[in-house]
Symmetry: C2
């Protein structure tokens, strides 16, 4: 084995690292079918020095006895981690409370390290750095293919792990949970005794990274914001106060409230991002292409490095000539399903009435709604598959644009699939009673199905996990360490790593945001028709937060921490719903005969419409003004940023002035 | 004179500077009433080293014989300028075509310098730096008041020149024109032979700075963009093609065109700002307070330096309890003037008809329009005074917020004053013929008045200038240099400096933008009513560009160069007009009986209105989508920025990797 020597050579040169006990942080699981040459090559690359094209990491190798799968446990010396963190320009809090890019020469000025490089980073930071380093292992000029696989070609600069993953040589690469930390986090987060406590957002961020913490922060803020409209809904329910103003007042309150909610969220989000040091992070414009990005080998126009190049016109052609027609077709299909429902409903209504309101026919009356709710779910599931396929096939270069295109596809379809029937009832049939019952039916059905999916499935998985654990214990006993160093890994860690490897993967926050998006639409789009919607949503979300938390901590594989400073494209999606709700609500109120009766009776129908149009425009302008005049970044955050800038500038000025005797 | 010694001391320490010939760049003109002690103190401060709280500049002193006014000619050694530029973080083009912050150690890597520090900066850059350095002279702890003025108190950190200017001790501080440069620039810019050539924007920027160059670039782009609608106007005029679609087509074209114009401008503007290195400049958040900012002495919350502090609630109280009511009153007054006009017009119409359409009564018919046009101008002038006073009195801390509040005040009032009558005719009277003639009348009258102001007044000034020149010649002969060094200044420069001192000051680009804003409104708000508007505007602007150019080069004092990367708040103002024009034009078309006749006759009036409202909403959405999907920064600019970022990052990575043998 030619690499063996190299590995030894490297481990000698880095002997000082071996003084620290090995801490397994990330697990790389190979397929049992992977050629041994490819496995050995990867191990060599992981351990080789950076200057030799490796990642300079610590690796312990295990082999599963029953199917001879190789499992790597990957760690790194703290010295290595800090240097990598410096290159990644990771910012950490200094002792005087500011974020600064870390530097190996200056560890003592940062919080929490206490001068001990081992505790300088927390677990999730270490895992994030290791992931980045593994992804940074690139094919060299002499690496034309993966050893053992003549056909899996490489080109200089290609990330090797991405090739291993996309070709299935590596089944998964996942960070290990920290048993103690997760217990402590879970106790604060999803303990049923603490349902009404605020979520431990900072701790969530420390454990799962900013992206997931921002989602839970948003879910929290949004849920709290549902309390006032839910209270109003309860008051309306109890008092049964009948007034022509009743719905108009509620609608106006909701319009203002949804604007304030979204603006307030932006402010809160920039506060927490500032606290986490991610507010001023700007995305790099020379992001790597996605793992599955295909194309002829060319050169990156920014970096000049070799990478696949896919002509833009091809992507646009795919988009306009395939994606747009297919999605339009899907939208039509969803629309047709909706019409089908209304026909069935009309038929059922007729059958019920023809039967002389017989009890026997009552189930017939509710069958269409039930079928429709199921149909929505089915069509949604099918569509999601199609959307995923189309999105993959469009071959987006960047993860971010892939994600944004996927969000747009989801939102567009779900909007039609879930809301179109409401628009149909409200503005075509113009049936207020039906609108109310239909809205209630859709909202409650979708929440019930969501709860079943999210609360039952995890429970089932959790049960299954106990079985897995006992199985894992027997497997660990059989696990064969490939080198003597691998023996130092704790049996408990091995056990847990095997269990975590078989856990479900938390795919992305998109599904969670989509669920909130639909709920937001149900609550605000037709709020004047169904004031109780907010209460239902509130009840749902209170349990949702804790279910999601449990899922994150106990049911899913630990995800790698990702940084984020906002909810991204979802902010736009929620704001669009906010804008549309102005139009729908003014239209609903304008169509209300009791409201119309308030206007002077000599006003013509045309002028009445014009009055409501003017009102709608005014509300839109006010909404816009509110959004503009509430600054997205709170004053104190701006001041802090300015102070930091000023200090930097002053230091520079002083330096130049003294050095030139100006 | 105690300061005399200090000045000598400093001039000895900087003897190497005296090898360069003195170049007078900026003129500081004291009032003839200013106490001599205050003058001497200022001179000492200008010459003292930075560490002694001065500006380390070169000063030559002259005294006007007829009124013993002191005039200072200020320059600086090239070494001093480059150091100041480094502190100001001025960016210049390097030899390989990128913008980089300059550094005195690295002059040879920048374009144009040819290693000669004297030609490293052009004239306007030098003047900008000197202005900055003069403004940077701050009162020290021992400077409690201006010498000779017990009552003009200072506090540590207060900019001294701002106090001199606001108290009238210094009448003006202005940069000198560069006779050769301005001739060359003028030849390319306002030469009547080159009316159809593009403007020399880069040269304008080099001479006048980015802010003025951006204005002229905008004027140029906007004028070119008027050509297509003007052509359509001509075609409509010639062919007299009567069709129900005629106005609808023109309106739709204009809606799209105005959006494309504003989006296209943003792109073009970011291109030129990128070329000038100002695109990535972010405004400092610790900007200095304005010269006239008043308040109790406190501390700046960012820098901790002493500065006046004015409670925010006072400014808000002034704004809400005085400014808002006063401006509302002004708006009402403008509205009343408008009603007056319509009453007069109705009366005149009646008189004309009563007279049996007698020719004798024809002047009576047109009198109200004439009076109204004059009234608009008068009311506008009065309002501008009020707005300026209110804005001063509101006591804004920053120049930028002062400016933005002023723009909002101007735009709001001029909108009502100039456009309200059009809205009245279009939607209250619903008289299309009157709308057309009224629009034509307002547009042409306002342009005529503008042209008179801008073309005639400069011409008059230019004539007067010749007289001034001959007067200046006699004055220069009498001019008494205060020190022997002052004798080295060229007589021609002295002469010109005196003439330039008496020239009118180019106040700001705001007035020019306001004029364009009103024109933009006349052209696009009711475009379906008067297609020829674009042609009139085009004709006006072609001459406007050259008149403004002539004014800038020959009639006004040279302004200090200011940097800018966009047209700022005006972009928003233009976009608001663009949005409103969607509403006005769809309403105009919807109200057109010939268009209404196109719809199926069985449609009810209410549904007709609803159809037009839906169309309007669709147009708004499309407009918004266009604005979002056209990126504000062109692809190539983004790529260049990314490449630069990548190079910086690569260099850092290489450095860390090699230094740690990773």
């Amino acid at each position: 084995m030619e690499f063996k020597d190299r590995i030894d050579d490297i481990s000698i040169r880095h002997r000082d690292d071996s003084k620290e006990p090995f801490e397994p942080l990330v697990v790389m699981q190979f397929s049992s079918k992977t050629n041994q040459a490819a496995v050995t090559w990867m191990i060599a690359k992981l351990q080789a020095s950076k200057q030799n094209g490796g990642a300079n990491l610590q690796v312990r190798t295990m082999v599963m006895p029953h199917n001879s799968e190789t499992v790597l446990y990957i760690g790194a010396s703290s010295h290595r981690l800090i240097l990598a963190g410096e290159l990644l320009e990771i910012k950490k809090l200094t002792l005087d409370g500011h974020y600064k890019e870390i530097s190996i020469h200056d560890l003592q000025s940062f919080q929490g390290s206490g001068n001990d490089p081992k505790t300088f980073f927390n677990n999730s930071e270490k895992q994030k750095i290791i992931k980045h380093e593994i992804e940074g292992i690139r094919a060299q000029a002499m690496d034309s293919n993966i050893p053992g696989y003549e056909k899996i070609r490489l080109y200089p600069g290609k990330s090797i792990i991405k090739k291993y993953l996309s070709r299935g040589l590596v089944l998964q690469l996942y960070p290990l949970h920290d048993e103690e930390e997760i217990k402590r986090l879970g106790d604060e987060w999803y303990n049923y005794k603490k349902v009404f406590n605020p979520q431990p957002i900072d701790k969530i961020r420390n454990y799962f990274g900013e992206k997931i913490a921002v989602y839970f922060a948003f879910l929290g803020v949004y849920t709290i914001a549902l309390i006032p409209p839910a209270l109003i809904g309860i008051i309306y329910l109890i008092t049964a106060w009948k007034s022509v103003y009743r719905e108009a007042i509620f609608a106006i309150f909701n319009l203002i409230w949804s604007t304030l909610l979204l603006e307030g969220w932006k402010r809160y989000c920039s506060e927490i991002s500032f606290k986490w040091g991610t507010l001023e992070n700007v995305g790099t414009s020379f992001e790597e292409p996605r793992a599955n990005y295909r194309g002829e080998l060319g050169r990156n126009i920014v970096t000049g490095n070799p990478e696949p190049v896919y002509p833009k016109w091809k992507r646009l052609a795919k988009f306009y000539f395939v994606t747009v027609p297919v999605i339009s077709l899907c939208l039509c299909a969803a629309f047709f399903v909706m019409l089908l429902y209304f026909w069935m409903q009309a038929w059922a209504d007729k059958a019920y009435i023809d039967s002389g309101h017989s009890y026997f026919y009552l189930p017939v009356l509710y069958t269409p709604s039930g079928i429709y709710a199921v149909m929505i779910a089915v069509v949604n599931a099918i569509y999601r598959l199609i959307a995923r396929e189309l999105n993959d096939w469009e071959n987006h270069r960047l993860e971010s644009s892939y994600n944004n295109h996927f969000i747009v596809k989801l939102v567009l379809f779900d909007f039609v699939n879930c809301f179109m029937s409401l628009f149909y009832v409200a503005f075509y049939l113009q049936n207020r009673t039906l609108l109310r019952s239909h809205l209630a039916c859709l909202l409650i059905a979708s929440q019930l199905m969501g709860q079943i999916q999210e609360a039952m499935v995890p429970f089932f998985f959790f049960k299954r996990r106990e079985k897995q654990l006992s199985k894992a214990i027997t497997m660990v006993e059989e696990l064969k360490p490939l080198d003597d160093k691998a023996e130092e890994i704790d049996k408990g860690v091995l056990k847990r790593s095997i269990v975590e490897g078989s856990m479900s993967v938390y795919d992305s926050t998109n599904n969670d945001y989509l669920e909130l998006f639909l709920q937001f639409g149900y609550v605000f789009l037709f709020s004047s028709a169904f004031p109780l919607a907010a209460l239902w949503a509130l009840l749902n979300n209170v349990t949702e937060i804790r279910c999601d938390a449990f899922k994150m901590c106990r049911v899913s594989q630990r995800p790698f921490a990702e940084s984020a400073s906002s909810i991204g494209a979802w902010q736009v999606a929620f704001e669009v719903i906010g804008l549309m709700s102005v139009i729908t609500n003014t239209a609903l109120i304008g169509m209300d005969p009791t409201v119309q009766a308030l206007l002077p009776s000599d006003i013509s129908a045309v002028n009445m419409v014009i009055i409501f149009v003017i009102v709608e425009h005014c509300v839109l302008v006010i909404k816009g003004a509110v959004a503009i005049f509430i600054p997205d970044i709170p004053k104190w955050v701006e001041l802090e940023i300015a102070r930091k800038e000023y200090r930097t500038k002053q230091a520079l000025q002083a330096e130049v002035c003294t050095s030139f005797y100006l």
